[in-house]
Every structure is written in structure tokens, then in C-alpha cells.
């Protein structure tokens, strides 16, 4: 019988939540790597038992953990992330040049067809790739070196490459997003890159429509329609119908267009989900009501999804990597909060229930649909 495996990264360890296709009764294992920050863990689309996890600590640095049995056991693999050549500088918060310094891996994106190939988005922002199951890592330095790297500045959470989207129709095309630089695309498997930020407007930067410098929080794609991208920017929900060449705002009737995650329904490429957050200085839902908003029209027209979610006195946040969908029918939607709850909907968002309520602050949620 098919089922799902939800991979949850938290401030103090990783948790693996499993259920059958009904998604009603859950088994919870963890904490794995207790006490360490787990920014992200994700399974290989080519081998669901192959998982990668980013384990980090302010004391002891970065580890990459790998599992070959769906998260039952793990082994540390390579943790040497060295920038290619002379690292150079980016801009610091005060505008002065600051040397590129590796801090942590924010996001791991296993390749679509090879379980041993995996990409890592890191802070300070760069993209690394491993072709040997995470044992060794090489920077795809054309990204930092394409020309604008010296002008990138960190967002409040650091200068991180947090989103990696692989085009299933074109193995040479990847999208990445960096806070606070924006979206970049390669069409030659990472050798050369171009900024993809035309149409974005960010009032918090000197030139609101600059090519580079936007605080993009997350981008998402439906694999059946890789030319269409959706974006949750710092403020504004955006859409591109030309693979990132241009963007237009689709915030529509959202109560706030600030937020972090955005995701796409597994079977309906125009059904998208966001979690509005009141503002960038108040990282909690408007009116203390935790509401997922769903658009069935690819943006602009949004409906609040509230059944089963707290509708009073709720002041948690939902971080950029903390939402995911499964591919069962009906599509399951999952998200985790900084309050330690992981919510699941087995009916595409119509109703929700907590899988678990009291984990450490949730940093990331990924879902695997198992045969």
C-alpha cells in the first residue's frame, strides 16, 4: 500500500513522520541528530530510500548526513565546502566588501535521475554539487562569478542560497534563489548564469526594479509545466510564464503578501499555496489566525483555508522550506511552524490536522510519496 514519509528539519534535530495513504495515523521517529540544527533534508526522486540531511551547529560547523534506508540509519559524508578559486567579496550589511565565508548548507536538492548527484545551496550564497553521493563537493562558481556577485548583500537571515529548482524537461536548466540577490538561471548545467528578476519591485532597495538585489523567499514549479514559476518574495507573490524572464504580481486579495513558502498542487499546476504573514517586522499570521491561502487560478484569486488550523492567538511563523505536497490523490499538503507544529491536509488543503504539535521550531518540511 502506498504511503508518505514526511521529513522534518528542526532547530534541534530531524524527525521522520510516516503514514499510509489515508494519512490519518502517523508514526514519528526522531530526533535524529539530536541537538543539531537540521536546516533541510530531502529524498532522491530516483531512489526514495536515499536521503540527504544538512546538519549544522554554531559550535561544530556543517555535516552532511546520508541515509540509504529511508532515514532509519545515517552516515556522515563530505562536509568540505570550499569556494572555487579566490573567494572574493560581497557586500556586508554596511555596504563594505566582505569576504565570502561558508556558514552552512540551507538546502539540499537531489538530482531527478541520479541518487548520487545532489546540489547544495549554502550561506554565504553559492551553489555546490556532488556527484558521488555527498562525499565530495564542487562549487558551480559561474553563479558567483557571473558579474553581480560582488554586489550581493545578506538578508536578515544571512546571505543564503535557499532555493534550487531543477527543470524536469531540460537537464541543463536550474533556477536558484538567493536572499537578498534574487533569482538566477542557468541553461548549461551551471556553467553560466543570468539574473531572472525583471518585473520584481522591491521598495526596500535603492533601485526598486534593479536586476539584482531582491529578497526572494522561495520559488516553486509544477513539473508538468516547467516554464511557469511562482514566487513568494519578501513582499509580493509573483508569477512567471516564461521561465523567469519576466514576472508579474499575483498577490490579488491576500490579506498580506509577505510570507515565506509557496508550493504547487501535485496534480493541478494552477493551484498554489502560500501562508500570509503580517509583515517583515511581525513574523506571525495576520490577526493571530493561521491561514493557508489557496489559489486555483494561478494567483490573484485566493481563498483562506482555515478548517483545523488555529484561528485565534496564533503567532507562529512558517519558514520558506517548511511546506511541501505529496502526489497522492487527493494531494496532501504539509507545513511546519516555528512553534513546532506540523500540519497535514489529506484533501488538498480543505481541512487540516496536526501530525505533531510540540517539536522544536520547524525549519523545513519535505514529503516523499512512497509506492
Amino acid at each position: 500500500m502506498s504511503g508518505v514519509r514526511v521529513l522534518v528539519g528542526t532547530r534541534k534535530g530531524a524527525f521522520v513522520l510516516t503514514a499510509d495513504a489515508k494519512r490519518a495515523r502517523w508514526d514519528i521517529s526522531g530526533p535524529h541528530f539530536a541537538g543539531w540544527e537540521i536546516y533541510h533534508l530531502k529524498g532522491s526522486p530516483a531512489d526514495p530510500n536515499r536521503l540527504y540531511a544538512s546538519q549544522s551547529s554554531g559550535w561544530f560547523g556543517q555535516q552532511i548526513q546520508r541515509s540509504n534506508d529511508g532515514g532509519k540509519t545515517w552516515e556522515p559524508v563530505g562536509n568540505k565546502f570550499v569556494y572555487d578559486g579566490v573567494p572574493g567579496t560581497h557586500q556586508w550589511y554596511d555596504g563594505t566588501p566582505h569576504p565570502w565565508e561558508f556558514a552552512r548548507v540551507w538546502h539540499l536538492e537531489p538530482a531527478l535521475t541520479d541518487p548520487d548527484t545532489v546540489y547544495a545551496g549554502v550561506e554565504d550564497a553559492a551553489l555546490f554539487r556532488s556527484a558521488d553521493g555527498g562525499q565530495t563537493w564542487q562549487e558551480l562558481s559561474g553563479l558567483r562569478g557571473h558579474g553581480s556577485g560582488a554586489s550581493w548583500q545578506p538578508g536578515a537571515g544571512g546571505m543564503c542560497l535557499h532555493t534550487i529548482v531543477l527543470d524536469p524537461s531540460d537537464s541543463g536548466r536550474l533556477f536558484v534563489a538567493i536572499s537578498a540577490a534574487g533569482v538566477f538561471r542557468t541553461d548549461d548545467a551551471g556553467k553560466t548564469w543570468r539574473p531572472m528578476n525583471r518585473g520584481l519591485t522591491s521598495v526596500g532597495i535603492p533601485n526598486p526594479t534593479a536586476d539584482v538585489g531582491h529578497c526572494v523567499h522561495r520559488i516553486a514549479m509544477h513539473r508538468s509545466r516547467p516554464g511557469v514559476l511562482f514566487m513568494q518574495k519578501h513582499w509580493d507573490v509573483m508569477r512567471s510564464d516564461d521561465a523567469g524572464e519576466t514576472w508579474r504580481e499575483v498577490s490579488g486579495n491576500l490579506p498580506s503578501d509577505f510570507g515565506f513558502p509557496i508550493d504547487v498542487h501535485a496534480h493541478e499546476p494552477d493551484t498554489i499555496y502560500v501562508v500570509p504573514i503580517k509583515s517583515d517586522s511581525e513574523h506571525y499570521p495576520p490577526d493571530g489566525k493561521l491561514r493557508v491561502y489557496r489559489s486555483r487560478t494561478g494567483g490573484n484569486e485566493w481563498e483562506a483555508l482555515t478548517t483545523g488550523l488555529p484561528q485565534r492567538d496564533c503567532y507562529v511563523n512558517v519558514l520558506r522550506d517548511a511546506m511541501a505536497v505529496d502526489s497522492l490523490d487527493a494531494c496532501g499538503v504539509y507545513f511546519g511552524t516555528t512553534g513546532g507544529q506540523v500540519y497535514a491536509s489529506a484533501d488538498a488543503g480543505d481541512s487540516w490536522a496536526p501530525i505533531v504539535r510540540d517539536l522544536p521550531a520547524v525549519l523545513s518540511v519535505e514529503v516523499q510519496t512512497l509506492p
Partner: protein
């Protein structure tokens, strides 16, 4: 034999119960002990000192014989008691936080 006591998280990472016991060629220094430690436990590379520069991570400290050796040069001899195995070298995750 050099005795090294690791912080809890690194003992877990390296699957070490109790002390790590290391054979160190030549003089016992921070560098030679860490070289031996990382050779025995490769997963500890990068956790105590930088992979490339070998600079000690900011929140890691080295204590032995009731002394803080963290700021000693990496090639300075460790105390005789550590070199002879009478006392352990403590690798400590510095107290930090609220």
C-alpha cells in the same frame, strides 16, 4: 597514548564511548593530536578546526591540566601529563547562549 575527551555532540558523531585514545607520532601538540584524531575519525574533520586553514572554530576550546590552551600556538608542546596519558586533553564546546 594520548587521551582526548570530546564534547557530547562530537562523541555521538564519531561513535566514541568515553575517551578517544590516540597514538601520536612525535611530539604531542594540538596539531599532532588533532591530525591523529581526524585520521581515526574522519567525520570530525571541519568540526574542531577549519578544513583548510586549520584555524580553531570560534566556539571550541582546548583545556588540559586545569589550563586553557586554546590560544597556544598549534605546534606548542602539550603539557607532559597529556603527552604521557596521565591527563586528558579536553575539547570543549564553549558555553554560549542565554
Amino acid at each position: 597514548m594520548i587521551r582526548v575527551i570530546l564534547p557530547t555532540h562530537l562523541r555521538t558523531l564519531a561513535h566514541v564511548d568515553g575517551e578517544a585514545q590516540l597514538h601520536v607520532e612525535g611530539q604531542a601538540t594540538q596539531r599532532s593530536v588533532l591530525d591523529a584524531l581526524e585520521a581515526c575519525y574522519p567525520m570530525l574533520r571541519g568540526t574542531i578546526r577549519d578544513h583548510v586553514t586549520h584555524q580553531r572554530r570560534a566556539f571550541v576550546r582546548f583545556f588540559a591540566c586545569e589550563q586553557d590552551l586554546s590560544h597556544e600556538p598549534p605546534d606548542a608542546p602539550l603539557p607532559d601529563a597529556v603527552a604521557m596519558g596521565a591527563e586528558p586533553l579536553l575539547i570543549v564546546g564553549a558555553m554560549a547562549g542565554g
